[in-house]
Symmetry: C2
Subunit: 198 residues, 2 copies
DNA sequence: TGCGTTTTATGATTAAAATCATAAAACAAG
DNA sequence: CTTGTTTTATGATTTTAATCATAAAACGCA
């Protein structure tokens, strides 16, 4: 995350996106650096039958879509507002100038990319070699550490729908629902009026 | 890739690893920056039944294992020499000093991490939502662009074993063998005495 | 050059998750 | 409040890739 003031000093502009509005699409070339002021953004792919795979979900203060910006490659996924959101946009050329002139920011970017690579490594291994219950639990535990799950008396509230968990783990809703039930029976998590706690 | 001279200026040491020798293990804390002088390294995970998932394969000039180094996190995977290899090792603290004192290197690191994140994004979507043939072909096409596949009269020689393709795509050998046969029948690739060309 | 290991190969069977069908509960919007 | 949509839920069935079994070809190396 880059300080808002610094981004604005370089001319970043705030833009509002309504729920379900597309921010950029797979196959397009990147033009801006994006940093969320408020709201929630998801990046995802759709296969030929319309089945979705969610690459990641991003919240306030987080940036997204940088890799293709650094590589001059097309976006490998779509990005869409999950709820009404405000985003700071900085054109590519100015963003690169900002980086050059502020070396400390580079370290921030590196740490951020490293974090995302770490998540992808863990989840890739999960999706490839583990059963549904294991995958779901791993995603939940990662979420507790890195998504903004809130803790209350029942534990951490996992504020993802079963469908989202499925799209993040490569499983179908029904499989996720069954896995969560099984995990509850094993005492790994709690279901309190349909909400999942851990 | 960081220039060898620069790494050596900061005290990097060359170390040899024999085929099958472990470089670092999952769960350990990172201590060094690693850059390959010669040979081939793979990073992979093993699940409880010993099933492998290959995170990536790295060759001459490439670095590996940086993300946990920047995050002070444990390695999420093992790294092992696929063949006899020589690697330059630079201790973490010196490496961070090198970065601070050479801002241009940060950009290189960013581009490298961005590239790897890009690969992981593409493969994650593949593994989650596509059939075996599609996955195998995607991996092969990525390999042509980013691994060191050589082109000859028959096309690009895909110098991965069926097992490796399976471990990179989350498929079993038999499934890979059948997928490759089917892809040959469809004319997507060639099999010339057991070797795959595209 | 012989022998153990790895790689490719193929057919039969099984298991696991996807798919299909259906519905109740909860939520959101007018 | 009512109504349409989303989310959670469950049971039955199907499909697909994994598993199991077996073997030939190729390779590595002593």
């Amino acid at each position: 995350m880059i300080a808002t003031e610094l981004l604005e000093k370089y001319g970043a502009l705030k833009k509002s996106f309504e729920k379900s509005e597309i921010i950029f699409e797979e196959g397009n070339l990147p033009t801006h650096y994006y940093q969320i002021i408020s709201g929630e953004i998801k990046m995802s792919n759709y296969n030929d039958d319309g089945r979705e795979f969610i690459q990641g979900i991003f919240y306030k203060g987080q940036s997204f879509g940088e890799p293709p910006l650094f590589l001059n490659q097309k976006y490998p996924a779509n990005s869409i507002a999950v709820e009404d959101s405000e985003i700071l946009l900085l054109p590519k050329s100015t963003f690169l100038k900002l980086l050059e002139e502020n070396p400390a920011i580079s370290i921030k970017i590196i740490e951020n990319l490293a974090q995302r690579l770490y998540y992808k490594s863990v989840m890739a291994a999960e999706i490839s070699t583990h059963e549904p219950e294991h995958r779901v639990l791993k995603l939940i535990d990662h979420g507790i550490a890195y998504f903004n799950f809130k803790k209350d008396v029942n534990g951490y509230l996992i504020n993802f729908t079963r469908q989202q968990i499925g799209d993040l783990t490569g499983l179908r809703v029904e499989t996720v629902i069954r896995a969560i039930k099984a995990l509850e029976k094993k005492g790994e998590l709690k279901i309190i009026n349909r909400k999942v706690y851990r």
